[in-house]
């Protein structure tokens, strides 16, 4: 791996190529716990192999972090590729619990009870 003296993206060479130089989609990146799933739309034949791989992994709901782990790519790369797929209507997302709800006692109790049920 080459050291990049003036690296402007957080990626090494290969991820940089995969995202065609983009480290930023111009909007807030998808959180690692955002759930994503492929839509029923047919895959366009022109897809990059990495986009295609993501879609084959996303036949059910998975978090962004899980997609990254299954792909063996850093989340920073997968976030960019997923944003493409969202733009193209090939991936739908279910956003994480909003920060405003973090102090929602009802939601927190639900998590508590979910944990207690595992005892």
């Amino acid at each position: 791996m080459t050291d990049r003296p003036e690296g402007r993206t957080p990626s090494a060479v290969r991820p940089y190529v995969i995202t065609r130089g983009r480290s930023d989609t111009g909007r807030e990146p998808l959180a690692w716990e955002t759930l994503v799933m492929a839509t029923d739309a047919a895959f366009p034949p022109s897809l990059q192999p990495e986009h295609h791989k993501i879609l084959t992994h996303c036949q059910g709901l998975l978090s962004v972090a899980e997609v990254a782990a299954h792909l063996g790519q850093p989340p920073s790369v997968v976030q960019v590729l997923l944003s493409d797929l969202v733009d193209w209507g090939l991936i739908v997302i279910r956003p994480p619990i909003a920060p405003a709800e973090h102090t929602d006692v009802t939601m927190l109790r639900k998590v508590l009870h979910g944990l207690e049920s595992r005892l």
């Binding site: 290969r14 759930l35 994480p96 939601m107 927190l108 944990l115 595992r118």
Partner: protein, 251 residues
């Protein structure tokens, strides 16, 4: 990914290093479809996810705990960090601009509509940039502590305080670890009175889940009473008892 990430927990593959001679870390109980496709996906009715951070120094048992409670085989992913984002040692090492750190994580389905992710987060100060992203949106954190090296946990606790993320502390009990009275530990770790301090065995599912339950209890208390500062009796330490009145307690 060709590069080798810095593996944070050496105990990832083999349970705890050295301290636990036997038995090896038990597999996550009844992990549905581990290794198969059936357990890979989140149940389709789930509408959203929440996350908790599991933080602590190298080898404290983060990966073990995540593996113990997760319903999926713990996964690992690499966070790539720009040193520029760190803002600390950029000038000292201008040639090296990125570094990677391995983050292990697991998943617990809470009910039909909600799933919880646990992200293991290395405690060292130099990983703080990775924390900022991960901590964004986290409900809270469980800080793991090893009494054989309390000082190793200071960075993680300091990071949590800097980020304002509510947390509970769990002492991961290793055989032969020194035992301290709770107030001694609280003083050594400089914990607020309201911060839960529990013991757990990261290899044991129920014990680990109970530590997470202590954290959730704390999050609920904090949410129900968001005023800063302890709602419990004053700390046993003498820190504030003799200060003159010009110094007002802010926490």
């Amino acid at each position: 990914m060709a590069s080798k990430a810095v593996s944070d927990d050496p105990d990832r593959a083999s349970g705890h290093p050295d301290a636990h001679a036997s038995p090896p870390a038990p597999a996550a109980p009844a992990a549905p479809g581990a290794g198969g496709e059936s357990g890979k996906y989140v149940s389709p009715g789930v509408t959203g996810a929440a996350k908790l951070l599991i933080v602590g120094p190298l080898g404290v048992g983060k990966t073990t705990l995540i593996g113990t409670v997760s319903e999926i085989e713990p996964l690992s992913t690499e966070a790539v960090m720009t040193r520029a984002g760190a803002g600390v040692d950029t000038v000292l090492t201008p040639g090296k601009t990125t570094t990677t750190v391995a983050l292990d994580f697991g998943r617990i389905t809470i009910d039909g509509a909600l799933v919880l992710y646990l992200f293991g987060t290395p405690g060292q100060q130099r990983f703080l940039p990775a924390w900022r992203d991960l901590a964004k949106g986290a409900l809270g954190a469980l800080a793991l502590v090893d009494t054989r090296d309390l000082a190793a946990s200071f960075d993680a606790l300091g990071n949590l305080e800097d980020l304002g993320l509510p947390f509970a502390v769990a002492v991961n009990t290793f055989p032969g670890s020194p035992r301290y009275a709770e107030d001694e530990l609280r003083a050594a770790l400089d914990l607020l009175p309201g911060t839960p301090l529990v013991e757990c065995d990261a290899r044991d599912m129920r014990s680990s889940v109970r530590a997470l339950i202590a954290l959730l209890g704390h999050l609920i208390d904090t949410a129900a009473d968001p005023r800063p500062g302890p709602s419990w009796p004053a700390p046993p330490r003498a820190v504030n008892t003799t200060v003159n009145t010009a110094v007002t307690e802010s926490s």
